[in-house]
């Protein structure tokens, strides 16, 4: 039998394990500019090529921003690290950590707050969300306006947690319809913390979802905005990416995902997958 105290043997094994596991921690590939960045016709090796920007990004706009970040990396060699979360959580993270370069919020409320607290420069809006009624494909219940929801089960974005929920509340308050709608949701429906959650409620049960626009909700808008953080040490590079998002390339991708000021015909088909512009779902 070994003479070494099992305690020491165990400690040695743990030590070796820690070192081995630390070595196994995945390393990300070096932030080399993508091949072809040079040959690219629009190789405006923008400000700060080779830099890495940390962008706090509202999780609800993940898909278009993911793609835009990749496009921007190919074009300018600037790597974009996207940290996702709810806009309000991100704001707290920025406030505490004082790290990072850009703040992309689902609503200008948050960027305005950030600016007021001295955390960010004034924000630039990059896309707009408008509240709509999301109903099963074909609109079997014939929903046309918010008044038609009275006997249905309704899922809506929480007015305290989602930007579009707040915008909806403001629009309906102006029209004097908020109290009735709020009562309806509380009694027969549910408030969800994210828009995707709301859309999921309909999408889980129906193969397709379409958007119905109620003129009453046309004013319920929220703007996605991006702001350069004052704690950024790469302000020029950060501004470069902000300009890219607010520019033509950003508009094109965001529109493809259903964001933007695009007008739609009432009840028009929006494809099988609901996107972030739907504020509420009736079934």
């Amino acid at each position: 039998m070994s003479r070494i105290n099992p305690l020491y043997r165990l400690l040695a094994v743990c030590g070796v394990l820690v070192v081995a596991l630390a070595a196994l921690m995945p390393r990300r590939p070096p932030a080399a500019p993508a091949p072809g960045a040079q040959s690219d016709a629009r190789s405006d090796a923008g400000p700060g090529a080779g830099a890495t920007l940390l962008v706090y990004c509202a999780a609800s706009v993940r898909q278009p921003i993911d793609r835009l970040a990749e496009q921007y990396r190919r074009r300018s060699g600037v790597r974009i690290d996207l940290g996702y979360g709810g806009s309000n959580t991100l704001l707290s993270q920025i406030e505490v950590s004082r790290q990072g370069d850009l703040f992309l919020a689902a609503d200008t409320t948050y960027t305005t707050l950030a600016t007021r607290r001295g955390l960010a420069e004034p924000a630039a809006p990059i896309a707009r969300m408008t509240a709509v009624l999301a109903v099963p494909a074909g609109n079997p219940l014939g929903v046309r306006t918010i008044g038609d929801l009275a006997t249905l089960r309704v899922a809506a974005g929480s007015p305290d947690q989602t930007a579009i929920g707040r915008a909806t509340r403001e629009a309906l308050q102006r029209a004097g319809r908020w109290r009735g709608f709020d009562t309806l949701v509380r009694r027969r429906g549910v408030y969800k913390p994210t828009v995707a959650d709301v859309a999921g409620d309909v999408a889980r049960q129906h193969p397709g979802v379409v958007a119905v626009e109620d003129p009453l909700l046309a004013g319920a808008r929220s703007e996605i905005a991006v702001a350069v953080l004052t704690c950024s040490r790469q302000v020029e590079a950060a501004r470069g990416f902000a300009r890219f998002l607010a520019g033509e390339a950003g508009r094109r991708v965001l529109e493809e995902f259903g964001y933007g000021g695009v007008r739609r015909v009432a009840g028009g088909t929006r494809g099988a997958k609901p996107d972030g512009s739907h504020s509420r779902a009736a079934r």
Partner: protein, 301 residues
């Protein structure tokens, strides 16, 4: 004999009661997984990436692989390099935080089990803080704490993979300490005392006598710590951030897919997590059984 048969009947009823309680709960769990699987095979492919989805998925998993149904959903998820990165980071970080947690839990559990001092109830409660606190608060507190650290340490940890391990460790260690303490509480201190009277030092008595007896407890503690780390999400979101290909673990992936409205992706990754957990935890239980046998045979000789 009527008396014997009455007893037999009562025993059968008792066993049936046990089986009903355990079976009912197990059935619920199995149904949960089955519902996820059914959801995946029922929803058409492309639900996730019709509106663009993940570029990588549509680029690589496109032809044939990204088809509908069950296999398609997993192939689609696996084709995404970010998800493969998340799988690797999850496995390594959970194991690393478990080892670190055990390095704290064994001494701390032993100390709390064997010693009596006035501040013990208070310190005992302090140990529970990570379990009691809302998960987001743990992450926020870590973030605030790190602001006091030197800049180089901040750069190394905050929003980096190291933050994943640290956040998992904080919560996992609290659970492991609890478990180890309960394990040491059940070990008779007299064996150790006998070893001491035979001339052993405290370290020798602990290593040769107590540690061997604590093995089942250690496996349980490590298993719990690992499982908790796997599901850890709240502190990570705040302290490590949810950056794809950097600090994204599987629990974060589920959140990211859900918040982008990709139900299929979220469910597929959840099932991958369940499968991973089942494999690892079953392996740990088998190890446990084997170690238990080794231990009893060595003590018998």
């Amino acid at each position: 004999m009527p008396h014997a048969s009455r007893i037999k009947l009562a025993d059968t009823a008792f066993t049936a009661g046990l089986a009903a309680a355990a079976g009912g709960y197990l059935l619920l769990l199995v149904l949960l997984v089955a519902a996820d699987l059914a959801f995946l095979s029922a929803t058409p492919a492309g639900g996730g990436d019709q509106t663009g989805g993940n570029q990588n998925v549509s680029d690589q998993g496109g032809g044939g692989l990204g088809g509908g149904g069950l296999g398609g959903a997993f192939a689609q998820a696996w084709a995404d390099p970010n998800i493969r990165y998340a799988v690797r980071l999850t496995l390594v970080s959970c194991t690393l935080s478990t080892v670190l947690a055990m390095l704290v839990a064994v001494p701390a559990g032993y100390l709390f089990s064997r010693s009596a001092f006035r501040a013990k109830p208070l310190l005992d409660t302090l140990m529970d803080i990570p379990i009691v606190l809302p998960p987001l608060t743990v992450g926020l507190s870590l973030l605030i704490l790190l602001q006091l650290a030197p800049a180089w340490l901040q750069r190394m940890v905050v929003y980096q993979p190291a933050a994943v391990v640290l956040a998992q460790f904080v919560v996992a260690a609290a659970l492991a300490v609890r478990t180890m303490r309960a394990a040491f509480d059940q070990i008779d201190p007299r064996l150790e005392q006998v070893a001491r009277t035979l001339g052993a030092t405290r370290a020798q008595a602990f290593g040769w006598v107590t540690l061997a007896e604590a093995r089942p407890g250690m496996i349980t503690a490590a298993t719990l710590a690992w499982a908790r780390s796997l599901g850890e999400f709240g502190p990570l979101l705040v302290f490590a951030g949810a950056t794809r290909g950097k600090t994204e673990v599987l629990a974060t992936t589920v959140y990211l897919e859900l918040s982008a409205g990709n139900l299929r992706g979220a469910v597929a990754v959840s099932l991958m997590m369940i499968a991973t957990a089942v494999v690892v935890l079953t392996a740990a239980r088998l190890l446990h059984a084997r170690w238990g046998r080794v231990q009893s045979s060595s003590s018998g000789s």
